[in-house]
C-alpha cells in the first residue's frame, strides 16, 4: 500500500513535471517564432536608423539595448511603433500581431530579456494610445 502510494505520487509528480516543462518549452518556442518573424520586420522598418545591433546612431536615433528603459515603457511601446514620435515615422500598416513580433524580437535581442510580447498585450496597449 505504502509502496503503491509512493509509486502513484512519483508518477503524478513526473507527469506534472513533464507538463510543466512542455509548457515552458511551448512558451520558449513561441517566443522564438515571434522573434524570427520580428527580425524580418525589424530589418525592413527599424534597422536603417536603429542599426543591425540596435546600437542607434549618436543622439539622432536611440539605442534599443537599454533593457531598463524598454521594461519601463513596455506598455507604451506598441503605440510608439504604430504612431511614431518626433523623428520616428509612424507605421500604420503594421498589424498588432506584427507589432508583437517586432517587439518580441527587440525585447529578446541586443542583450534584452523581456520575454514574449503577445498580440493580446499589443492590442490592449493600442486601445490606450494617446
Amino acid at each position: 500500500m505504502t509502496r503503491n502510494t509512493s509509486i502513484y505520487t512519483g508518477t503524478l509528480g513526473l507527469l506534472l513535471y513533464i507538463l510543466f516543462q512542455a509548457c515552458q518549452n511551448e512558451q520558449a518556442i513561441r517566443t522564438a517564432q515571434y522573434a524570427v518573424n520580428g527580425q524580418k520586420l525589424f530589418t525592413t522598418h527599424c534597422q536603417n536608423c536603429h542599426g543591425a545591433k540596435g546600437e542607434g546612431l549618436g543622439n539622432l536615433y536611440p539605442s534599443l539595448s537599454d533593457s531598463t528603459s524598454l521594461i519601463q515603457h513596455r506598455t507604451q511601446l506598441p503605440c510608439l511603433v504604430r504612431n511614431g514620435k518626433g523623428d520616428m515615422p509612424a507605421n500604420p500598416q503594421l498589424a498588432p500581431i506584427e507589432i508583437a513580433y517586432v517587439l518580441t524580437y527587440i525585447g529578446n535581442s541586443f542583450g534584452n530579456e523581456m520575454g514574449i510580447v503577445t498580440q493580446e498585450e499589443v492590442q490592449q496597449a493600442l486601445t490606450a494610445c494617446q
Binding site: N48, C49, G58, Y61, P89
Partner: protein
C-alpha cells in the same frame, strides 16, 4: 620543428615584403571621363589629359556661413548626399561615415562634406542640430545646403544619382555613395556607403591616398 619555424619565418618575410611593396607602389585611379587636349608649348606639340574634377562651389553650411571649395583644397575629403529626415539608406551611410570621422577626428589632412538634397526642409539650423546629434563636434565635417540647381548639379559632378520623387519614402531618391576626393578635386574612389566591405575598402584607399601626400 626547425622546418616549420623556417617556413613561418620565410612566410613572414614574404608577407612583409609584399606588404611594403603594395603600400609604396599603390595609387588610386582618377575616376570619371577624361579628355585629351593637344597644345603647343615652347614650339612642341604635346598631348595632355584633362581629368574629370569637381567644379568650384559655394554652399551654406550648418553655421549659416559660406563654404567654398577652398575650405577643402588643403587635403582630401569624403563627400556624400543625404537629407536629415531620410528614412532609408542615409542613416546607414552616415553611421558608416561617422566611423571614418571618428578615426580621423582632428586629422587636418581629411575633411567631410555632406550635401543635403532636401533644400526645402534642411535649413542650416536643421543641419546644425543633426550634426550635433550625430556627434560631430568640429568643423572637419561640413553639412551644406544650397539651391536645388547647385546641389543637384554638384551631385552630377560627383556622379551621384539624386532626384525628387514623391513616390519614395522621404520624397527624395538618391544613391548612397561616398566619394573620395583629392586636393585637385579629382574623384579617386567611390564606395557604397551601405556596404561594410566597401567601407573597409574606403579605409584602405583613404590611407593609400593620404600616403601620396607624405
Amino acid at each position: 620543428m626547425r622546418t616549420s619555424l623556417f617556413f613561418a619565418a620565410s612566410l613572414f618575410l614574404l608577407m612583409s615584403a609584399a606588404g611594403c611593396g603594395n603600400d609604396r607602389s599603390q595609387t588610386l585611379p582618377i575616376l570619371g571621363s577624361r579628355d585629351a587636349v593637344t597644345k603647343v608649348v615652347d614650339g612642341k606639340t604635346i598631348t595632355d589629359t584633362i581629368y574629370h574634377s569637381i567644379p568650384d562651389f559655394e554652399l551654406t553650411n550648418q553655421d549659416s556661413t559660406l563654404i567654398t571649395n577652398e575650405f577643402f583644397d588643403k587635403g582630401v575629403y569624403i563627400a556624400d548626399f543625404f537629407f536629415t529626415h531620410c528614412p532609408s539608406i542615409c542613416p546607414i551611410v552616415q553611421r558608416n561615415l561617422l566611423k571614418v570621422y571618428e578615426k580621423y577626428k582632428g586629422d587636418e589632412r581629411i575633411k567631410f562634406l555632406s550635401h543635403s538634397i532636401d533644400f526645402r526642409y534642411d535649413t542650416p539650423a536643421v543641419l546644425k542640430s543633426y550634426a550635433e546629434k550625430l556627434g560631430v563636434t568640429n568643423d572637419q565635417w561640413q553639412f551644406v545646403t544650397g539651391t536645388k540647381a547647385s546641389i543637384y548639379g554638384l551631385s552630377d559632378s560627383y556622379m551621384v544619382y539624386t532626384k525628387e520623387d514623391d513616390s519614395i519614402p522621404g520624397g527624395y531618391d538618391h544613391s548612397g555613395y561616398l566619394l573620395l576626393v583629392d586636393s585637385n578635386r579629382h574623384i579617386r574612389g567611390a564606395y557604397d556607403g551601405t556596404n561594410d566591405e566597401q567601407i573597409q575598402l574606403l579605409f584602405t584607399d583613404l590611407a593609400i591616398l593620404l600616403n601620396e601626400y607624405e
